[in-house]
């Protein structure tokens, strides 16, 4: 898998708000089962498993069987240098455009 494909998969993975939410929860909580992850979300367990698979395909999550359940764990080290540049650049434009909006609103 080339790094271009990897970056595409990463972007596809984090472009969805449910998947971003799942990722944040996994990073903060440590490994969890899909049953626990679905708590507080307005989607089905089946949908959560599907989202987790997309995250796994991007290398952001992996799964391990623990007894009768499958536990998912986040792998934040999958972020690449390119991803970091995009995040930083995007955040900078967020700040600038917020200032622009306030600037033109005040003239």
């Amino acid at each position: 898998v080339s790094s271009v494909d990897t970056l595409d998969a990463l972007f596809a993975a984090v472009a969805d708000p449910t998947r971003r939410s799942l990722l944040v929860r996994l990073v903060r909580s440590g490994p969890q089962s899909a049953t626990r992850l679905v708590e507080g979300l307005s989607v089905t367990r089946q949908a959560v498993v599907k989202h987790l698979q997309v995250l796994a395909d991007a290398g952001l999550v992996d799964s391990q069987r623990a007894g009768r359940e499958v536990r998912y764990a986040a792998h934040p080290e999958a972020l690449t240098a390119g991803m970091t540049w995009m995040v930083e650049t995007g955040a900078a434009w967020d700040r600038r455009l917020d200032r622009l909006r306030r600037h033109v609103g005040s003239t």
């Binding site: 080339s2 790094s3 271009v4 970056l7 595409d8 972007f11 984090v14 472009a15 708000p17 971003r20 990722l23 944040v24 990073v27 903060r28 934040p76 080290e77 972020l79 690449t80 240098a81 390119g82 970091t84 540049w85 995009m86 995040v87 930083e88 650049t89 995007g90 955040a91 900078a92 434009w93 967020d94 700040r95 600038r96 455009l97 200032r99 622009l100 909006r101 306030r102 600037h103 033109v104 609103g105 003239t107």
Partner: protein, 145 residues
């Protein structure tokens, strides 16, 4: 390893509650840019070939070179951090009328020749990055070079 011709693009847009003339004044004059792009905009003019220096709100200094100006519609410039001249990126800012008194502004920043270097984020910094990403990705599009 990423090939040297990889291109990264960040794209975002907003709608402003002003007409095209006011929006143009904000993006195509040094005074306008200094109000939002960066506190220090040391450019003699906003016209093709003009170059200067910009210092942003975090104290990062960039050299900027204006490439194209389509009056009332778009400007584009190339800029690079003074401490990283190899990472020049190109920014295009486009304006389009939405309705009377409302203008859409679109920004595209492109980094070409992405260096193939591995980067491993720590868990802690990644959480911060993801928080920023949540604000950004809805408007971010990645394009291949």
């Amino acid at each position: 390893m990423a090939p040297m011709n990889d291109t990264l693009t960040v794209e975002t847009e907003i709608e402003l509650d002003v007409d095209g003339d006011a929006a143009w004044a904000a993006v195509a004059t040094t005074e306008g840019l200094a109000a939002w792009l960066a506190p220090i905009v040391a450019l003699p003019s906003i016209e093709p070939g003009a170059s200067g220096r910009i210092v942003d709100d975090e104290g990062v200094a960039r050299i900027v070179a204006v490439r194209n100006v389509d009056v009332g519609h778009s400007i584009s410039f190339t800029w690079w951090r003074e401490d990283a001249p190899a990472d020049a990126s190109t920014v295009t800012i486009e304006l389009a009328p939405v309705e009377a008194g409302r203008t859409r502004l679109r920004v595209v920043e492109t980094l070409a020749g992405v260096r193939a270097k591995a980067s491993v984020a720590t868990g802690a910094s990644w959480v911060v990055a993801l928080a920023q990403l949540t604000l950004v990705v809805a408007a971010v599009v990645r394009a291949r070079g």
